[in-house]
Amino acid sequence: MAIDKNEPSKLRWGELEEDDDLDFLLPPKEVIGPDENGIKKVIEYRFNDEGNKVKITTTTRVRKLAKARLSKRALERRNWDKFGDAVREDVGSRLTMVSTEEILLERPRAPGTKPEEAKASGDGLAQLSKGGAVLMVCRTCGKKGDHWTSKCPYKDLAAPVESFVDKPAAAETSAAAPGAGKGAYVPPSMRANAERTTGSDMRRRNDENSVRVTNLSEDTREADLHELFRSFGAVTRVYVAMDQKTGTSRGFGFVNFVNREDAQRAINKLNGYGYDNLILRVEWATPRTN
C-alpha cells in the first residue's frame, strides 16, 4: 500500500499507522469566523495524554455589545491608565457585568391584559393558550371558534342575545389569566366560558352550582379536588384558596359543577368523607334553600 507523500490530501486514516513520519503532524487550527449569529468555532488538533490525536472544537458566541465608532480622542482615551480605585483592577473584575436577563422597552398595555400569563400550562388548560381561538364565540349564531359577533356572516338573521361581556378582547386574554395557575381570580362574568348557548343563564347557573369544601389539608391542590369531584359529574372550575406567603392551602376551596344534580350528589357523598386524614365538609357555596 503505497502512500503518496506528495499529495497528503489523499491520505487515508486507516493507513496512517504504517507511516510513522507523519504522526507528529497535526492538521492546522481552523477558525470558522463568527457567522450571522455570532457563533465562532475554533477547531484544534492535539495529542492527548495517551498520544492519540484528538480534535477539539471550541464553540463560542461572539457578541458585539456596541458599534462604537470612536473619534481619535476617544481612541486615545481608551488607552489611558487606570487610576484611583481602579488601579489594581483587571479586565475580569466583576464590577461590570452584562445583565443575565434580557430587558425590553415594554410598551404600555391596555388595562386588563396580562401578556405574561399567556403561557401554556398543560393539563387541559393548554386549550386556553391556543391563541384564544377556542374562545372566539359569536353571539349571533353561537358558533364557537370561527368568528366574532361583529364578523358574523349571519348578522342580520338574529340579534345578539345579550351584551353582558364588556370587551371580547379583554375576555380573550383574561381567560388566559385564570388558566395560568389561578394566580389572578377573574370573575366568571369576565371569562369567555365555552358554553354560551343560552347566554348568561348558563354561566350564572354554573355559579349557582358552586360547592364549598372546607377542612382541606395543607397540601391539597386544585388537581386533587378535581380528581375527587369529577366522578360526580362535569366540573367546570376548581379553586383552592392559597396562602401567598407560605404556598399552602388555607384549608378551603370551591368546585363548580355543570349540573346542579351532580353538585348535590357530590355534597351528599363527600360531606364527612375522610380525605388526607381530615374530614371534609362539603356544602353549597352560598346557603341554598332547595
Binding site: L65, W80, A86, T96, V98, S99, I103, L105, E106
Partner: protein, 326 residues
C-alpha cells in the same frame, strides 16, 4: 437589550453625565467617589478620590480634560480627568448641589444649599485655562430663591442661567447682571420640588422633573410651558434623547413597589415618552430602587440610569427602538 450593570458605588447614585464624545460616563454617588467608566462596555476607568461628603453633581468640559464635581462637604473640586488628580478646590459655606460648565468651559455655575444662616445661592466662577492660575473669586452671586436650588444650568449662549429647586418655580436670570428675567407661572408650573433639569441638544427647550409626579417641557427663551408628561411616581431624574423625540423620566418611591415577583431584575423603571405626543412609549425595568439619575449618550444610541440601589445600568438600544411608532 442586555443592560450592562456597573456596581462601583456602595451608596445611591446621584448624578450621571456623559462627555461630549460619548465614550466616557461619569457617575456621582453618595459614597464620596465620583467614578468614570467607558461608555461602550461599562469598564471602569478610574475614580476621583478626595471628597469628604456625598457628591451631588458633576460636569465635564467639552474636551474631556477637566471634571468639576460638587459635594456635600461644601467644596467644588476641579479634576484632571485622565489622571484623577485634583486641580483646584472651591470652598463654600454650604453643600454644593449643582455644577455646570458654561459653553466654552470658561465659566461654571454652582448652586449651594441653604445651611444655617446662609440662604441658597447661585455662584458663577471663572475657570482658568491653566489651573495654577485659578482663583476663588466669584464673578456673580445670585441669592433669592427660598429653599434648595436643585439644579442650575446655562441658557443659550451663556446669556442666562436657569434655576429650579424646592420652591417649584423655574427662574431665568441674566448671567451678567444677576437680574431675575422670568419666573415660571405658578398655575401651570410644578406643584412640588423640582428635582432635575435637562436641556435639549440645541438648547431651545428644556425639561424639568418634579416630585409632583410630572415633568414639563419649557421654551428656553420665553419660559412658556410646552408639554407635560405625567407619571405615577415622583420624578427624580429626566433626560432627553438627542436623536429621537423621546423623553425619559425616572423616579419612584420605595413603598410603592412591594410585590412578589419572580423576576430577578427590579421593578423600578425608566419611562419613555414621546416628546410631542406626550404619550408613554414604554418602560425599561431593572432597578431595585428608585432611579436617581438618567443620562443619554450624545449619539442617542444608548442611555444609562443610576439608582438608589447603587447600580448604574447602561443600555444600548436594540435596532427596533429606532423604529418605534405610536
Amino acid at each position: 437589550m442586555r443592560p450592562i450593570l456597573m456596581k462601583g458605588h456602595e451608596r445611591p447614585l446621584t448624578f450621571l453625565k456623559y462627555n461630549r464624545d460619548g465614550d466616557l460616563l461619569f457617575s456621582c454617588a453618595k459614597d464620596h467617589t465620583p467614578t468614570v467608566w467607558f461608555a461602550d462596555n461599562g469598564e471602569r476607568l478610574g475614580t476621583y478620590r478626595g471628597h469628604n461628603g456625598a457628591v451631588w453633581t458633576c460636569d465635564v468640559s467639552r474636551d474631556s480634560m477637566r471634571l468639576i464635581t460638587g459635594s456635600a462637604d461644601q467644596t467644588v473640586k476641579l479634576w484632571n480627568v485622565q489622571k484623577g488628580t485634583q486641580l483646584y478646590t472651591f470652598n463654600f459655606g454650604s453643600p454644593a448641589r449643582s455644577v455646570e460648565f458654561a459653553i466654552g468651559d470658561k465659566l461654571a455655575v454652582i448652586t449651594t444649599d441653604p445651611f444655617m444662616e446662609l440662604t441658597s445661592a447661585i455662584h458663577v466662577k471663572r475657570i482658568a485655562g491653566d489651573s495654577t492660575e485659578q482663583t476663588e473669586e466669584s464673578v456673580l452671586v445670585i441669592k433669592g430663591p427660598q429653599g434648595r436650588i436643585n439644579r442650575a444650568v446655562w441658557g443659550p449662549l451663556n446669556r442666562t442661567i436657569i434655576s429650579a429647586g424646592e420652591d417649584a418655580v423655574i427662574r431665568i436670570w441674566d448671567s451678567e447682571t444677576g437680574k431675575l428675567l422670568k419666573e415660571s407661572d405658578k398655575e401651570s408650573g410644578h406643584k412640588k420640588t423640582i428635582t432635575s433639569l435637562t436641556k435639549a441638544a440645541d438648547g431651545s427647550h428644556f425639561l424639568s422633573g418634579s416630585l409632583d409626579k410630572s415633568a414639563k417641557l419649557w421654551d428656553t427663551r420665553t419660559l412658556t410651558l410646552i408639554k407635560t408628561y405625567s407619571t405615577e411616581r415622583p420624578v427624580n431624574a429626566v433626560a432627553m434623547s438627542p436623536l429621537l423625540d423621546h423623553v425619559v423620566l425616572g423616579g419612584g418611591q420605595d413603598a410603592s413597589a412591594v410585590t412578589t415577583t419572580d423576576h430577578r431584575a427590579g421593578k423600578f423603571e425608566a419611562k419613555f415618552y414621546e416628546k410631542i405626543l406626550q404619550e408613554e412609549i414604554g418602560g425599561v425595568k431593572g432597578h431595585f430602587g428608585p432611579i436617581n439619575a438618567l443620562a443619554f449618550n450624545p449619539d442617542g444610541k444608548s442611555f444609562s440610569s443610576g439608582g438608589e440601589d447603587g447600580y448604574v445600568r447602561l443600555h444600548h438600544f436594540d435596532p427596533d427602538y429606532f423604529n418605534i411608532k405610536i
